[in-house]
Amino acid sequence: MAGTVIGSGISIEGEITSDDDLVISGSVRGKVIGKENVTIEQGASVEADVSGGTLTVQGSITGNINAADRVDLQTGARVIGNVRAARFTIADGAQFKGNVDMDV
């Protein structure tokens, strides 16, 4: 597990680069660059372009999403931005506004 966790009480303005798993519950403005699993938890507020291997979203993202493997918007997710991924799911109850590019 290990990896990086940005807790709900923390806000970061700037760039996060991670080779590990990344879990964000707090607030991030800037840029998020992950390589493995990136999880945006419920209550998180991300105003940033987000990239990663597998992206799981339960919180709010304003910015473009770019995943090497897949993006899952789960219930409660709120995303404004474009999504580029090989696989992409939007669960019932997730809000999404933007373009999708799935490398057809």
Binding site: T4, G7, S8, G9, G14, I16, S18, G26
Partner: protein
């Protein structure tokens, strides 16, 4: 679980980290950290930032000033280049520090003053300027015997008295100190 913030080993944060929570750093942070909780910089952690927190515990490397409102604790393996300021400061054996240490006196007014009056703090380093005074003592015994010897040989004691005043080696020593400060910067 998600209330604990951990910057893991493979993670780099560039920018400002703030908030009311506690923070543990095993990776890299480059920028500024200002939190109301406890900051722990672990063994592999590398922080290049001015840090402001309630409690700061360092086991890794820091380049920047540490200001705590309660406690700064440098544990074995800590390497800090920067000034420390807190009501309580602990430096354990095996910790390395280069910078001014200011313990006691509420750290609450610290944040602005420490940054705004940084040059003033350096000037204010009168206790540091006291070190030349200490080394001033060293040359004194050297010169005194020679002066005494001269006084025995000749009666021109006034000339020798001025000689005694003449060689205060303060200037080269001060230069060294200034050099040290410049190096630190």
């Amino acid at each position: 679980m998600t209330d604990v913030t951990v910057i893991g080993q493979g993670t780099t944060v560039r920018g400002r980290v703030s908030g009311a929570a506690s923070l543990e750093i095993q990776g890299h942070v480059d920028g500024e950290i200002s939190i109301e909780g406890e900051l722990t910089i672990e063994r592999d952690g590398l922080v290049s930032a001015n840090v402001d927190a309630r409690v700061i515990i360092v086991r890794g490397a820091v380049k920047g000033d540490l200001v705590a409102h309660d406690l700064v604790s440098l544990e074995a393996g800590a390497r800090v280049v920067g000034d420390l300021k807190a009501p309580r400061i602990a430096i354990a054996q095996g910790a390395l520090v280069r910078g001014q240490v200011q313990a006691g006196g509420g750290g609450s007014s610290s944040k602005l003053t420490s940054r705004a009056s940084k040059p003033a703090m350096r000037v204010e380093s009168a206790p540091r300027a006291a070190t030349p005074a200490r080394s001033e003592v060293k040359p004194a015994p050297r010169t005194v015997p020679s002066v005494l010897a001269g006084a025995r040989g000749t009666n021109g004691s006034s000339a020798h008295a001025s000689e005694r005043k003449a060689p205060p080696p303060v200037v080269p020593v001060l230069k060294k100190v200034k050099g040290a400060i410049a190096k630190r910067r």
